[in-house]
Symmetry: D3
Subunit: 72 residues, 6 copies
Protein backbone atom coordinates (compact mmCIF):
# COMPACT_ATOMS: atom_id res chain seq x y z
CA UNK A 1 0.00 0.00 0.00
CA UNK A 2 2.58 2.58 -0.98
CA UNK A 3 1.85 6.27 -1.35
CA UNK A 4 4.13 8.15 -3.70
CA UNK A 5 4.07 11.92 -4.02
CA UNK A 6 5.88 13.42 -7.02
CA UNK A 7 6.52 17.16 -6.88
CA UNK A 8 7.60 18.78 -10.16
CA UNK A 9 7.49 22.25 -11.67
CA UNK A 10 4.40 23.10 -13.74
CA UNK A 11 6.18 23.56 -17.04
CA UNK A 12 3.82 21.98 -19.54
CA UNK A 13 3.65 18.44 -18.22
CA UNK A 14 1.51 16.51 -20.71
CA UNK A 15 -1.15 13.95 -19.88
CA UNK A 16 1.02 11.25 -21.47
CA UNK A 17 3.88 12.22 -19.17
CA UNK A 18 1.59 12.04 -16.16
CA UNK A 19 0.44 8.57 -17.20
CA UNK A 20 4.06 7.48 -17.63
CA UNK A 21 4.97 8.76 -14.15
CA UNK A 22 2.01 6.93 -12.59
CA UNK A 23 2.73 3.69 -14.44
CA UNK A 24 6.46 3.87 -13.76
CA UNK A 25 6.18 4.53 -10.04
CA UNK A 26 3.55 1.82 -9.61
CA UNK A 27 5.58 -0.74 -11.59
CA UNK A 28 8.62 0.08 -9.44
CA UNK A 29 6.66 -0.79 -6.29
CA UNK A 30 5.58 -4.09 -7.89
CA UNK A 31 9.06 -4.98 -9.13
CA UNK A 32 11.09 -3.96 -6.09
CA UNK A 33 8.72 -4.60 -3.17
CA UNK A 34 6.11 -6.92 -4.70
CA UNK A 35 3.39 -4.43 -3.72
CA UNK A 36 -0.21 -4.70 -4.89
CA UNK A 37 -0.87 -2.04 -7.57
CA UNK A 38 -4.54 -1.87 -6.55
CA UNK A 39 -3.48 -0.18 -3.33
CA UNK A 40 -0.59 1.87 -4.73
CA UNK A 41 -1.32 5.59 -4.98
CA UNK A 42 0.71 8.09 -6.99
CA UNK A 43 -0.09 11.79 -6.53
CA UNK A 44 1.58 14.39 -8.77
CA UNK A 45 1.87 17.99 -7.54
CA UNK A 46 2.69 20.58 -10.20
CA UNK A 47 4.34 23.56 -8.52
CA UNK A 48 4.54 27.04 -10.06
CA UNK A 49 8.15 27.99 -10.84
CA UNK A 50 7.72 31.15 -8.71
CA UNK A 51 7.05 28.89 -5.73
CA UNK A 52 10.08 26.58 -6.10
CA UNK A 53 13.45 27.78 -4.93
CA UNK A 54 16.87 26.24 -5.34
CA UNK A 55 20.19 27.83 -4.42
CA UNK A 56 18.49 31.02 -3.09
CA UNK A 57 16.56 31.66 -6.34
CA UNK A 58 13.15 30.99 -7.79
CA UNK A 59 13.19 28.47 -10.64
CA UNK A 60 11.50 31.21 -12.71
CA UNK A 61 14.64 33.31 -12.33
CA UNK A 62 16.98 30.38 -13.05
CA UNK A 63 15.08 29.72 -16.27
CA UNK A 64 15.35 33.38 -17.32
CA UNK A 65 19.10 33.36 -16.73
CA UNK A 66 19.42 30.15 -18.69
CA UNK A 67 21.31 28.65 -15.77
CA UNK A 68 19.12 25.57 -15.96
CA UNK A 69 17.34 24.08 -18.92
CA UNK A 70 13.55 23.93 -18.81
CA UNK A 71 13.89 20.22 -18.32
CA UNK A 72 15.80 20.42 -15.09
CA UNK B 1 -1.03 20.80 18.15
CA UNK B 2 -1.90 18.31 15.43
CA UNK B 3 -1.53 18.99 11.74
CA UNK B 4 -3.83 16.99 9.48
CA UNK B 5 -3.48 16.98 5.70
CA UNK B 6 -6.40 15.56 3.73
CA UNK B 7 -5.73 14.80 0.07
CA UNK B 8 -8.81 14.14 -2.07
CA UNK B 9 -9.68 14.36 -5.75
CA UNK B 10 -11.10 17.68 -6.97
CA UNK B 11 -14.51 16.37 -7.97
CA UNK B 12 -16.88 19.09 -6.87
CA UNK B 13 -16.16 19.18 -3.16
CA UNK B 14 -18.59 21.71 -1.70
CA UNK B 15 -17.86 24.31 0.94
CA UNK B 16 -20.17 22.47 3.34
CA UNK B 17 -18.18 19.28 2.80
CA UNK B 18 -14.94 21.14 3.49
CA UNK B 19 -16.39 22.53 6.72
CA UNK B 20 -17.51 19.02 7.74
CA UNK B 21 -14.03 17.61 7.09
CA UNK B 22 -12.39 20.37 9.13
CA UNK B 23 -14.85 20.01 12.01
CA UNK B 24 -14.71 16.22 11.98
CA UNK B 25 -10.91 15.96 11.96
CA UNK B 26 -10.59 18.58 14.70
CA UNK B 27 -13.25 16.93 16.87
CA UNK B 28 -11.45 13.60 16.45
CA UNK B 29 -8.24 15.12 17.85
CA UNK B 30 -10.20 16.51 20.81
CA UNK B 31 -12.07 13.28 21.50
CA UNK B 32 -9.22 10.81 21.03
CA UNK B 33 -6.16 12.77 22.15
CA UNK B 34 -7.66 15.64 24.17
CA UNK B 35 -5.89 18.11 21.88
CA UNK B 36 -6.57 21.84 21.92
CA UNK B 37 -8.63 22.79 18.83
CA UNK B 38 -7.09 26.28 18.81
CA UNK B 39 -3.80 24.72 17.71
CA UNK B 40 -5.23 21.99 15.48
CA UNK B 41 -4.72 22.64 11.76
CA UNK B 42 -6.55 20.83 8.96
CA UNK B 43 -5.36 21.45 5.39
CA UNK B 44 -7.33 20.03 2.45
CA UNK B 45 -5.56 19.48 -0.88
CA UNK B 46 -7.83 18.96 -3.88
CA UNK B 47 -5.93 16.99 -6.52
CA UNK B 48 -6.88 16.90 -10.21
CA UNK B 49 -7.98 13.42 -11.27
CA UNK B 50 -5.32 13.46 -14.01
CA UNK B 51 -2.70 13.77 -11.26
CA UNK B 52 -3.88 10.90 -9.05
CA UNK B 53 -3.01 7.35 -10.00
CA UNK B 54 -4.16 4.08 -8.54
CA UNK B 55 -3.46 0.61 -9.92
CA UNK B 56 -1.40 2.01 -12.84
CA UNK B 57 -4.18 4.35 -14.06
CA UNK B 58 -5.22 7.96 -13.66
CA UNK B 59 -8.43 8.39 -11.68
CA UNK B 60 -9.75 10.26 -14.73
CA UNK B 61 -9.47 7.04 -16.72
CA UNK B 62 -10.98 4.91 -13.94
CA UNK B 63 -13.98 7.26 -13.84
CA UNK B 64 -14.43 7.02 -17.63
CA UNK B 65 -14.38 3.24 -17.50
CA UNK B 66 -16.87 3.29 -14.67
CA UNK B 67 -14.54 1.07 -12.68
CA UNK B 68 -14.95 3.32 -9.69
CA UNK B 69 -17.85 5.53 -8.74
CA UNK B 70 -17.23 9.26 -8.60
CA UNK B 71 -17.49 8.98 -4.87
CA UNK B 72 -14.56 6.66 -4.47
CA UNK C 1 -9.35 7.33 -2.62
CA UNK C 2 -8.42 9.84 0.05
CA UNK C 3 -5.02 10.00 1.70
CA UNK C 4 -4.96 11.50 5.18
CA UNK C 5 -1.75 12.30 7.01
CA UNK C 6 -2.03 13.01 10.74
CA UNK C 7 1.00 14.59 12.38
CA UNK C 8 1.02 14.58 16.18
CA UNK C 9 3.66 14.75 18.90
CA UNK C 10 5.04 11.41 20.15
CA UNK C 11 3.78 11.71 23.71
CA UNK C 12 2.61 8.19 24.52
CA UNK C 13 -0.02 7.69 21.85
CA UNK C 14 -1.57 4.28 22.56
CA UNK C 15 -2.49 1.65 20.03
CA UNK C 16 -6.17 2.17 20.87
CA UNK C 17 -5.81 5.88 20.13
CA UNK C 18 -4.18 5.09 16.78
CA UNK C 19 -7.05 2.75 15.92
CA UNK C 20 -9.55 5.45 16.87
CA UNK C 21 -7.79 8.03 14.67
CA UNK C 22 -7.75 5.62 11.72
CA UNK C 23 -11.40 4.65 12.14
CA UNK C 24 -12.53 8.22 12.72
CA UNK C 25 -10.76 9.71 9.71
CA UNK C 26 -11.96 6.89 7.46
CA UNK C 27 -15.56 7.18 8.67
CA UNK C 28 -15.44 10.93 8.05
CA UNK C 29 -14.50 10.32 4.40
CA UNK C 30 -17.41 7.85 4.09
CA UNK C 31 -19.93 10.12 5.78
CA UNK C 32 -18.98 13.43 4.20
CA UNK C 33 -17.75 12.42 0.72
CA UNK C 34 -19.19 8.91 0.30
CA UNK C 35 -15.65 7.59 -0.28
CA UNK C 36 -14.78 3.90 -0.42
CA UNK C 37 -12.98 2.90 2.81
CA UNK C 38 -11.08 0.16 0.94
CA UNK C 39 -9.09 2.88 -0.81
CA UNK C 40 -8.86 5.34 2.08
CA UNK C 41 -5.40 5.56 3.64
CA UNK C 42 -4.61 7.14 6.99
CA UNK C 43 -0.94 7.59 7.92
CA UNK C 44 0.02 8.79 11.40
CA UNK C 45 3.39 10.48 11.94
CA UNK C 46 4.55 10.75 15.54
CA UNK C 47 6.97 13.66 15.82
CA UNK C 48 9.47 14.10 18.67
CA UNK C 49 8.65 17.16 20.78
CA UNK C 50 12.18 18.49 20.14
CA UNK C 51 11.33 18.56 16.43
CA UNK C 52 8.03 20.45 16.66
CA UNK C 53 8.07 24.19 17.11
CA UNK C 54 5.24 26.60 17.81
CA UNK C 55 5.58 30.28 18.66
CA UNK C 56 9.41 30.19 18.34
CA UNK C 57 9.80 27.33 20.86
CA UNK C 58 10.15 23.56 20.84
CA UNK C 59 7.13 21.75 22.26
CA UNK C 60 9.57 20.13 24.71
CA UNK C 61 10.26 23.57 26.16
CA UNK C 62 6.58 24.56 26.21
CA UNK C 63 5.81 21.39 28.17
CA UNK C 64 8.58 22.14 30.68
CA UNK C 65 7.25 25.63 31.25
CA UNK C 66 3.75 24.27 31.68
CA UNK C 67 2.56 26.75 29.08
CA UNK C 68 0.67 23.99 27.32
CA UNK C 69 -0.80 20.83 28.74
CA UNK C 70 0.62 17.53 27.55
CA UNK C 71 -2.61 17.03 25.67
CA UNK C 72 -2.26 20.10 23.50
CA UNK D 1 20.35 18.67 0.78
CA UNK D 2 17.43 19.99 2.76
CA UNK D 3 13.88 20.11 1.45
CA UNK D 4 11.67 22.77 3.01
CA UNK D 5 7.94 22.95 2.38
CA UNK D 6 6.19 26.16 3.40
CA UNK D 7 2.40 26.04 3.53
CA UNK D 8 0.64 29.39 3.80
CA UNK D 9 -2.79 30.76 2.94
CA UNK D 10 -3.21 32.26 -0.55
CA UNK D 11 -3.94 35.80 0.55
CA UNK D 12 -2.06 37.90 -1.96
CA UNK D 13 1.48 36.68 -1.39
CA UNK D 14 3.69 38.82 -3.64
CA UNK D 15 6.59 37.64 -5.75
CA UNK D 16 8.96 39.65 -3.54
CA UNK D 17 7.61 37.85 -0.46
CA UNK D 18 8.13 34.48 -2.17
CA UNK D 19 11.72 35.43 -2.98
CA UNK D 20 12.27 36.49 0.63
CA UNK D 21 10.90 33.18 1.94
CA UNK D 22 13.14 31.20 -0.43
CA UNK D 23 16.24 33.23 0.42
CA UNK D 24 15.53 33.21 4.14
CA UNK D 25 14.93 29.46 4.42
CA UNK D 26 17.99 28.68 2.31
CA UNK D 27 20.21 31.05 4.31
CA UNK D 28 18.97 29.43 7.52
CA UNK D 29 20.15 26.01 6.28
CA UNK D 30 23.55 27.50 5.40
CA UNK D 31 23.94 29.35 8.71
CA UNK D 32 22.66 26.67 11.07
CA UNK D 33 23.64 23.42 9.37
CA UNK D 34 26.31 24.54 6.88
CA UNK D 35 24.24 23.04 4.05
CA UNK D 36 25.00 23.58 0.38
CA UNK D 37 22.45 26.03 -1.10
CA UNK D 38 22.82 24.39 -4.54
CA UNK D 39 21.00 21.36 -3.17
CA UNK D 40 18.57 23.16 -0.88
CA UNK D 41 14.97 23.17 -2.15
CA UNK D 42 12.20 25.42 -0.88
CA UNK D 43 8.66 24.73 -2.10
CA UNK D 44 5.84 27.13 -1.22
CA UNK D 45 2.24 25.86 -1.23
CA UNK D 46 -0.45 28.55 -1.26
CA UNK D 47 -3.63 27.08 0.23
CA UNK D 48 -7.11 28.53 -0.32
CA UNK D 49 -8.57 29.89 2.93
CA UNK D 50 -11.62 27.61 2.43
CA UNK D 51 -9.26 24.64 2.61
CA UNK D 52 -7.43 25.59 5.80
CA UNK D 53 -9.08 24.97 9.14
CA UNK D 54 -8.05 25.99 12.62
CA UNK D 55 -10.10 25.62 15.80
CA UNK D 56 -12.99 23.92 13.91
CA UNK D 57 -13.39 26.77 11.39
CA UNK D 58 -12.23 27.64 7.89
CA UNK D 59 -9.76 30.52 7.80
CA UNK D 60 -12.24 32.20 5.43
CA UNK D 61 -14.77 32.30 8.25
CA UNK D 62 -12.22 33.47 10.82
CA UNK D 63 -11.29 36.37 8.52
CA UNK D 64 -14.96 37.33 8.09
CA UNK D 65 -15.49 37.37 11.83
CA UNK D 66 -12.36 39.45 12.29
CA UNK D 67 -11.12 36.94 14.82
CA UNK D 68 -7.76 36.85 13.12
CA UNK D 69 -6.02 39.52 11.10
CA UNK D 70 -5.36 38.78 7.44
CA UNK D 71 -1.72 38.47 8.36
CA UNK D 72 -2.17 35.60 10.75
CA UNK E 1 14.40 19.42 -9.85
CA UNK E 2 11.80 16.87 -8.81
CA UNK E 3 11.18 15.83 -5.24
CA UNK E 4 9.71 12.36 -4.79
CA UNK E 5 8.47 11.07 -1.45
CA UNK E 6 7.82 7.34 -1.18
CA UNK E 7 5.83 6.20 1.85
CA UNK E 8 5.86 2.46 2.54
CA UNK E 9 5.34 0.23 5.55
CA UNK E 10 8.44 -0.67 7.57
CA UNK E 11 8.36 -4.39 6.92
CA UNK E 12 12.00 -5.27 6.42
CA UNK E 13 12.86 -3.08 3.46
CA UNK E 14 16.46 -3.95 2.54
CA UNK E 15 19.18 -1.54 1.58
CA UNK E 16 19.18 -3.02 -1.94
CA UNK E 17 15.46 -2.33 -2.24
CA UNK E 18 15.98 1.26 -1.11
CA UNK E 19 18.71 1.70 -3.73
CA UNK E 20 16.41 0.25 -6.38
CA UNK E 21 13.60 2.64 -5.41
CA UNK E 22 15.95 5.63 -5.55
CA UNK E 23 17.45 4.60 -8.89
CA UNK E 24 14.07 3.74 -10.40
CA UNK E 25 12.34 6.97 -9.41
CA UNK E 26 15.28 9.08 -10.56
CA UNK E 27 15.52 7.25 -13.91
CA UNK E 28 11.79 7.78 -14.41
CA UNK E 29 12.24 11.54 -14.05
CA UNK E 30 15.10 11.43 -16.59
CA UNK E 31 13.21 9.26 -19.07
CA UNK E 32 9.80 10.90 -18.88
CA UNK E 33 10.60 14.56 -18.15
CA UNK E 34 14.28 14.83 -19.10
CA UNK E 35 15.09 16.04 -15.59
CA UNK E 36 18.60 16.45 -14.25
CA UNK E 37 19.36 13.60 -11.80
CA UNK E 38 21.78 15.85 -9.88
CA UNK E 39 18.79 17.83 -8.63
CA UNK E 40 16.36 14.94 -8.27
CA UNK E 41 15.64 14.00 -4.65
CA UNK E 42 13.99 10.76 -3.52
CA UNK E 43 13.02 10.48 0.15
CA UNK E 44 11.71 7.16 1.52
CA UNK E 45 9.56 7.16 4.67
CA UNK E 46 9.15 3.80 6.39
CA UNK E 47 5.91 3.85 8.39
CA UNK E 48 5.15 1.46 11.26
CA UNK E 49 2.24 -0.84 10.39
CA UNK E 50 0.42 0.35 13.53
CA UNK E 51 0.46 3.86 12.07
CA UNK E 52 -0.93 3.01 8.61
CA UNK E 53 -4.65 2.45 8.21
CA UNK E 54 -6.62 1.20 5.24
CA UNK E 55 -10.32 0.32 5.20
CA UNK E 56 -10.75 1.30 8.88
CA UNK E 57 -7.97 -1.04 10.11
CA UNK E 58 -4.29 -0.84 10.97
CA UNK E 59 -2.07 -2.70 8.52
CA UNK E 60 -0.81 -4.64 11.56
CA UNK E 61 -4.29 -6.05 12.01
CA UNK E 62 -4.75 -6.78 8.28
CA UNK E 63 -1.49 -8.74 8.32
CA UNK E 64 -2.61 -10.76 11.36
CA UNK E 65 -5.89 -11.64 9.69
CA UNK E 66 -4.05 -12.63 6.54
CA UNK E 67 -6.33 -10.34 4.57
CA UNK E 68 -3.34 -8.86 2.82
CA UNK E 69 0.01 -10.39 2.09
CA UNK E 70 3.05 -8.85 3.70
CA UNK E 71 3.98 -7.57 0.30
CA UNK E 72 0.92 -5.45 -0.14
CA UNK F 1 -0.96 30.24 10.41
CA UNK F 2 1.91 28.84 8.40
CA UNK F 3 3.06 25.24 8.55
CA UNK F 4 6.70 24.65 7.68
CA UNK F 5 8.16 21.19 7.22
CA UNK F 6 11.95 20.93 7.16
CA UNK F 7 13.39 17.64 5.91
CA UNK F 8 17.09 17.08 6.58
CA UNK F 9 19.39 14.10 6.89
CA UNK F 10 19.84 12.67 10.40
CA UNK F 11 23.54 13.41 10.72
CA UNK F 12 23.90 14.54 14.31
CA UNK F 13 21.59 17.54 14.34
CA UNK F 14 21.92 19.08 17.81
CA UNK F 15 19.13 20.42 19.95
CA UNK F 16 20.58 23.93 19.58
CA UNK F 17 20.44 23.56 15.79
CA UNK F 18 16.81 22.44 16.00
CA UNK F 19 15.97 25.48 18.15
CA UNK F 20 17.72 27.74 15.63
CA UNK F 21 15.76 26.24 12.73
CA UNK F 22 12.47 26.68 14.58
CA UNK F 23 13.25 30.25 15.61
CA UNK F 24 14.59 31.19 12.17
CA UNK F 25 11.64 29.81 10.20
CA UNK F 26 9.13 31.40 12.58
CA UNK F 27 10.89 34.79 12.49
CA UNK F 28 10.90 34.63 8.69
CA UNK F 29 7.11 34.24 8.66
CA UNK F 30 6.80 37.23 11.03
CA UNK F 31 9.20 39.42 9.07
CA UNK F 32 8.07 38.60 5.54
CA UNK F 33 4.35 37.90 5.94
CA UNK F 34 3.54 39.47 9.32
CA UNK F 35 2.25 36.11 10.53
CA UNK F 36 1.35 35.38 14.14
CA UNK F 37 4.07 33.18 15.70
CA UNK F 38 1.52 31.63 18.08
CA UNK F 39 -0.02 29.83 15.12
CA UNK F 40 3.19 29.14 13.19
CA UNK F 41 4.24 25.47 13.25
CA UNK F 42 7.68 24.18 12.29
CA UNK F 43 8.13 20.41 12.02
CA UNK F 44 11.59 18.94 11.45
CA UNK F 45 11.91 15.47 9.90
CA UNK F 46 15.32 13.81 10.26
CA UNK F 47 15.75 11.29 7.44
CA UNK F 48 18.23 8.39 7.53
CA UNK F 49 20.92 8.83 4.87
CA UNK F 50 20.02 5.38 3.47
CA UNK F 51 16.54 6.73 2.74
CA UNK F 52 17.56 9.92 0.92
CA UNK F 53 18.63 9.71 -2.68
CA UNK F 54 20.14 12.33 -4.95
CA UNK F 55 21.53 11.77 -8.44
CA UNK F 56 20.66 8.03 -8.36
CA UNK F 57 22.56 7.37 -5.10
CA UNK F 58 21.85 7.14 -1.41
CA UNK F 59 23.37 9.99 0.60
CA UNK F 60 25.12 7.28 2.63
CA UNK F 61 27.01 6.28 -0.50
CA UNK F 62 27.79 9.88 -1.48
CA UNK F 63 29.26 10.47 1.98
CA UNK F 64 31.43 7.35 1.69
CA UNK F 65 32.76 8.46 -1.66
CA UNK F 66 33.46 11.90 -0.26
CA UNK F 67 31.52 13.39 -3.15
CA UNK F 68 29.64 15.59 -0.73
CA UNK F 69 30.67 16.91 2.65
CA UNK F 70 28.67 15.78 5.66
CA UNK F 71 27.26 19.27 5.84
CA UNK F 72 25.63 19.16 2.44
Amino acid sequence: MPYINVKITDEGVTNEQKQAIIKGCTQLMVDVLNKNPATTFVVIDEVNTDNWGIGFDQVTELRRQGLTSSAE
